[in-house]
Each structure stands twice: as C-alpha cells, then as structure tokens.
Symmetry: C2
Subunit: 325 residues, 2 copies
C-alpha cells in the first residue's frame, strides 16, 4: 500500500522488480490516484477558479489563454459565469458562487469584475482568506489586487492620436460611464489625447453597459450632426452602432466621419473593416493564469506582497473607418 504510493509518485527507494509489478497491476486495474484526497491533505486542490460575466465579448479569448496555461500545469479550471444584474439578485448569485468555490478549496481565482460596484463585495471573503486573486481586463479600486489587462488609458490616448493624425478636430466619445474601469480609463486617455492634440470633445454619449442602447447613440449623434468629424467608441459594438447611424445620416465613412472602436473583435470577421485596438486577450488570459500560478506556488504569505500590474499595450488595427479622408 505504501510502496504503491511511492511508485506512483516516482519516489526513490523502490526495487525495480516491485515497481514493475505495481505499475502493471495499477495499469490493468485502470488505477487513477484520487485528486480529491491529495487535495484534502496537501491543502492544494489543484483547482483554479475563473469568474467572468456571461456573454462578455472578450471573455472567451481570455478564457482560452488562461485555460492553456492551467492545462500545462495540469490544473483543473472551474468556470463561473455571472450575469450582469444588480441588487439582491446579484448578491445572492455571486455569494453562492463564491461559497461553492471556497468549499471546493480552489487554489486561486481569476476574476473579470462586472464593474466597480458589484464583484468586490463578494470577493472580500477570498481576500480575507488570503487566497490568491488576479483581476483581468477590468480593474477595481476597492482592493489592491494583482491586475492583468490592457493599458486602457494609453489605448484611449492613442485613439485620439490616430484621429488627430487623420485631420480630425471634433470628436464624439461613446462610453459606458465610470463604473467600469476600461470605460473610465479609455475615456480619460481619450480626453487627455484630445487636449494634447488640440481637438474638441463635441459630445460624450454614455450608454448602459448592459443594454447597449443603439437608439440612444443614434439619437445623440443625430443631434450633433455636423458638429463632429470623428467618433471613438470605447467598445467595438458602440463604434459599430455609431457607424450605422452615420450611414443612416448619409455621412460618408471615412470621408466625413472617422470611426474607431476598441477590442478588435471583428478581426475574425471580414465583413466590417472597423479601425480598432487589439487587446491581445489570449495573452492577457495566459499572463493572468501565469501570475496566479506563481502566487499559488509561492505559498501563503505573512505580509501581503505588493500587487503586480501587468499591462499589455493595445495594438492599433487599421480598418477603413478612419483613413485620411
């Protein structure tokens, strides 16, 4: 019984003959060591948790990057998809999720927070228990955790830069407000860029990040018709909506109006040549997983280590929507 254990973990001090015999038998019986037991006594379940909003466009690619790294480490990846609602319902859902994960003794968490308000609440317990936690894509100010994502400020700034280089003067910014870090930072970066390149902000349309309200965008852009020559949508979907409105208003793209999005999710989609920024989500996911595993393997700490911040530069992807007119 003991020798068996030694053989299967390739420990030394085992006679060749015995080893052969044991391996043969284990093989014939289809024996697999039980990770639940290993986890129980070692305090390492070998399970990591990924929690993301359901239906978020960038999530699958991040997930794949994270998965691939975890798979290399032979860790089991548990996935939870949280729905983008607020209030009692959200609290009930998320606390149930966290509870399940805690009971399962996951070794660490990767969290893509829904927004600045929602997720931090439920993750307080994770932090209290000193379980490694890495935030991806969206950061939160509520606790100082490791973060892996896009440099959104620079992305916003560069959007303004590109538009300026193409001769634009008056911009419309479409964002989803300040509760989501990506939206806030891209907006801030964009505004900083506008200032630096002496452009004017004609309007800042703020839409809900749950129901991306194409009608609102349509309405607002119609109102400022003639007063803008470019649009920056902090997400591709918003930029596409703007594109549609421009088409409806018979504003030629890119001649009369230039449009830039963010996310470059239509890279795979040859139908629309929206200029955008690639966030390299696969890399982000992989980096996040790598950092998490590092934290896990380092083991428990006495004094909390300084939070790491791994920012990936967004890559401008030229489409036809913002060429020089």
């Amino acid at each position: 019984m003991m020798t068996v254990s030694r053989v299967l973990r390739n420990k030394s001090n085992v006679a060749h003959a015995t080893e052969q015999k044991i391996r043969a038998i284990a093989n014939r019986l289809g024996y697999k060591p039980n990770r639940l037991v290993r986890g129980m006594q070692s305090g390492r379940s070998g399970i990591v948790s990924v929690v993301m909003p359901a239906g978020h466009a960038i999530a699958p690619a991040i997930l794949e990057g994270a998965y691939d790294y975890f798979a290399e480490k032979d860790m089991l990846m548990a996935l939870d998809l949280v729905h983008g609602h607020y209030g009692e319902k959200a609290i009930a859902e998320q606390s149930k999720v966290i509870n399940r994960l805690l009971e399962s003794r996951v070794d660490g968490f990767i969290l893509l927070p829904v927004n600045e308000e929602a997720s931090p609440l439920y993750f307080k317990e994770v932090i209290d228990r000193k379980i490694p936690l890495v935030l991806v894509d969206r950061n939160t100010i509520h606790f100082d955790a490791d973060f892996v994502g896009t440099d959104d400020f620079v992305g916003g700034y560069e959007a303004a830069h590109v538009l300026a280089e193409n001769g634009c003067k008056n911009a419309v910014l479409i964002s989803t407000g300040d509760l989501v870090s990506t939206s806030r930072l891209r907006s801030e970066g964009f505004k900083a860029g506008l200032k630096a390149f002496k452009m004017k902000l004609t309007a800042n349309v703020i839409v809900s990040n749950f129901t991306h309200n194409a009608d609102l965008i349509d309405h607002e852009l119609s109102r400022c018709q003639g007063q803008f020559d470019c649009v920056f949508g902090i997400g591709d979907r918003l930029a596409i909506s703007a594109w549609h409105t421009c088409q409806r208003l018979e504003l030629k793209i890119p001649q009369q109006v230039k449009v830039i999005g963010f996310g470059a999710l239509n890279l795979r989609d040859p139908r629309v040549a929206l200029s955008s920024f690639d966030q390299q989500p696969y890399k982000v996911g992989r980096d996040a997983a790598k950092l998490l595993v590092e934290r896990i393997e380092k083991g428990p700490w006495k004094r909390k280590p300084k939070a790491r911040r791994i920012l990936t530069m967004p890559q401008f992807v030229a489409g036809t929507s913002c060429l020089a007119g």
Copy 2:
C-alpha cells in the same frame, strides 16, 4: 464534532440551543465544509466536466446554458478546451485532459466532439468506467451515448424548403465534409429537400472545418457563376464567405442569388441580415446539463440504459439574403 456535522447538513435530532451555538461559532470562524473530503467518501465530487473545441462559435452559448443548470444544482463546472488538431499531438493533449478529469473524479461529462474521428478514442475510458457522458451539438457514431443537439437533418431540409418557396432551382451547397455530424446531416437533409422540391445541386463545395477557406469558396463559386441561384452554407461563416464572393461577382442578393446559413450567430450582430437557422444553443446546453445530472443522480447502472436523444428544432431566422427576388 459529530453534532457539528449534523447541524451543517440540517439533520434532525439537534437541540435548538446547540444548533444556535454551533452556527454562531461556525460563522465566526468562517467555517466552510470541505467538498474534497465529501467527494472522497461519498464517491460524488460534485464536479462536472465540459469538454469543447476551442474557438467554436456556438460553444459559448451552449456553455452558458449548461453552466446555469449546473449552478442551480450547486455543482462545480470544470471546463476544458481542446484544440482542433489531429494525430499524435491531439492524442497527447486529449488523453492528458481525460486523465486529469478522471483523477479529479468528476461525476459526469459533457462533450462537444471535435469530429467523428478524434474525441471518441479518448472517451473510451470514460465509457468503460460507466461515467455518465452526454454529447452536445455534434454526435458520433463510435459509441451510443446520450445526445443533445439540433435536428440538423430537418434544418438542412428546411433550408431547401425555404429556398424552393422563394423560387430557387439550382443550389450550391457548402459544407465541411462528412466527418462532422452537423455538416453531414445538414447536407443530407438539404439534398433530400432538393429532391423533394425538384431542385438541382449545382455544386457541393467541401472545405476544411479548421481553416474555413474563403478562397476556395470564392474560387468554386466563380467557376459555377450563372449556374446557381442560391447557396446554402452549413455554417454562417461559410454563408458569409459566399455572400462576399457574390458581391465580388456583382451578383445581387437576394435578387440573383439567395443565401442561407446555419447557426444564426449574427443574431446579435445587426450588420448583416443573413437568413439562417437558430440552434437555440442556450437551451441545448441547458438540456444537456439537465440530462447529465439526471444520469448522475440515477446512480450506477447494471445494464446500460438506452441512450437518449434530445433534438431541438432549428428555427428559421429570416434575413434579407433569401427573400423572394
């Protein structure tokens, strides 16, 4: 120690006072029962596995449906993404995945097979161990397992039906060959429909299901120019490629050529009004999870129960690409 256990599982035979005390203490200490241990002795880990091809367009929606059901049952969902390659590499990857899952004592599997050749091999071990297994979306002939998915034959047939109703006579079929059940069945259904509605099959373009070769589609459609008045792509991506070729050839859609896809993945995307079939992937995922949990809760069997087959009818989604010309 024993009473604690009783309280936390809401067992009877506990004095109110004691219960209060225990709950208070458990709460103050932030106690969480250890699922690894529970799983170890009960033989139920409470973990289910979902294995899908990475980057498959329909996967996220199926996954969400499955997740929601598992979450209701408070089960942990482990996700594995397998890459679409063949040969040694694929074998090594998949057997590592299965091994990890088996060692983790997952209670059941949901598998979206890559194709008829690849996955079955690795799942033999799962079947041998009598662990519940539900196939989604793509079926396989290699073993008789539960299947939840779209009625692809009917879908193909209905595609022909719609095209016939719109006056089409000569069709081009674009598929990915017979190794993927969805492709095979939609093609068979489509051909049956053509026969029933007295239409002709001008060409059957077969492309790889890994690299969806837009160039090949372009080339083949160019060759048969003038000999077809409609195209059925067994996936939306293929149909979109055909659409592009038609635009390039200056064939007006839908006046000269009608196009139908499958998957209705552009439902969320207002840019393209491709006629297609909604596979209700969320429902499919949820149904699969439900069936799996049923199998798990039924417990081990002596004689293998008859495989169940839950087919969802694809819903035609009218776009502008196949209106009566």
